[in-house]
Symmetry: C2
Subunit: 315 residues, 2 copies
Amino acid sequence: MAFPPDATLSDAGEFGLIGALTALFDQPEDVLVGPGDDAAVLRVRSGHVVVSTDLMVEGRHFRRDWASAEDVGHRAAAQNLSDVNAMGGRATALTIGLAAPADLPAQWALDLARGFADECRPLGATVVGGDLARADEVVIAVTVLGACTVAPVLRSGARPGDVLALCGRQGWAAGGLAVLGRGFRSPRVLVEAYRRPDPPYDAGRIAAEAGATAMIDVSDGLVADAGHLAADSGVAIDVRTAGFEVPEPLQAVGAALGADPLQFILGGGDDHALLATFAEADVPEGWQVIGAVADGEGVTVDGAPYEGPSGWTHF
Amino acid sequence: MAFPPDATLSDAGEFGLIGALTALFDQPEDVLVGPGDDAAVLRVRSGHVVVSTDLMVEGRHFRRDWASAEDVGHRAAAQNLSDVNAMGGRATALTIGLAAPADLPAQWALDLARGFADECRPLGATVVGGDLARADEVVIAVTVLGACTVAPVLRSGARPGDVLALCGRQGWAAGGLAVLGRGFRSPRVLVEAYRRPDPPYDAGRIAAEAGATAMIDVSDGLVADAGHLAADSGVAIDVRTAGFEVPEPLQAVGAALGADPLQFILGGGDDHALLATFAEADVPEGWQVIGAVADGEGVTVDGAPYEGPSGWTHF
């Protein structure tokens, strides 16, 4: 379904909009009750449920001129699906709360939902419920539910002697964001990496099965998130930059903007790569060793305190 | 923990604030992993999970000058707990997304969380995760998870010949809101009903066990929500006002404001009463028969179309 191009949320009306939005989401067999009742009801096969919530606020987490509504949907979904990935689990169901001005184009909301559905579909996850409310700015609140087939991997299990390993693209989205921030639109591969992250969705489960001792998804920044692992595990972590290859597009952006391209990798957080610790022999294929765990506390980079941007903070 | 009275969210800082907030929430045994990791992990005993999401936006769903932060916490929790109640279930866990300006008093956020925790505690439910983000206005996004011990009661099961029944206070909060809207603070019992709803939290499960055929919580307004039951069940519903006693404080407010007090009952939605249909012999104690289900479609009041306010719409 589509609304006329100039129709706003207000024109579409709450119930018309909800009908059009919910039609975009497949409802697989394990969704016993889908959208439209007081609550959804899901079959849970594993005896537990993994749950996480994230907010995205226009102007802070996205800009409508930097990413299409579909891109924002992909990013919002990826950010949440990735939280389940970081526990070693599989996402099953999501809810979306959309607070938005009455003059938001109805098509923007539909495109957002379409991006969301497309990001979820390959994982077998879907949107089972949500809420709409009027607000001065666009706020997208997502909750994801999931399941683990092995014990969830927490942030707190890293042990001295473990190695630190990374899976997935890292720094690409930060490079793309830096490019957009200067008013450019290329290198396209980085801008696209920002607009549509490509998290390693299978890697969390594989890492859990391989015996990962601690895991986190990189959302605050690689060094900042290594810091969360170190703090929660009561250990020291040294990130070793020799472990990174700096991809060519990041080198190009660094040169163009006069920045050290390594800073995109160490400080960036929008790719939703996974960071985990393992006994050295347990590191699965596709993971890159980028550091080591020792007795102590805090994070160092190549043995020295990190002087770069300290990662994303909200307040 | 308390922050200095003049400390803002910005002063408290994201991590300090999260620590102070999460300390307010008990974590019972079925919370395998509580706040602080990429996701929470809950034990699920019933093989399914009930899930619902609601948004509350400052200026639309609450005003900081009309209700304290603790009241807003109670209301936000009640609104969500009630959605599980309306399925015939028991709420177990909630997540809260709080988007707020950097200059919001940190104590406001703590008081909100305290109200939330206090509303959840008697039910054995708790907050297991959440997110904080900076925004221009306060938006509270809540997701509730729960379980049913019998089959969930949907909106779609009402049958011609059933009776319509109501459980819980209805219209009191709307009366309180009308009073506040005129700048008054009394009758206190109505203002308090608006600030701290008192939903009949056990009634949903009892109704489900008694064989309720359809159920909804009154949040859009009694007639509007009866309309949802009628539409989803493919039946006609007649609300019979002879079934209502108009409580004295509502009579007083009606007289003072020159309004028909019955309109608060028919149009109000903030008490989170339950509306359900039953075979006449199945109506449990504590429920009041207020109407009848027949072949046809739509809602009538005393056999005639309803001319009053049509209930809450967001856009």
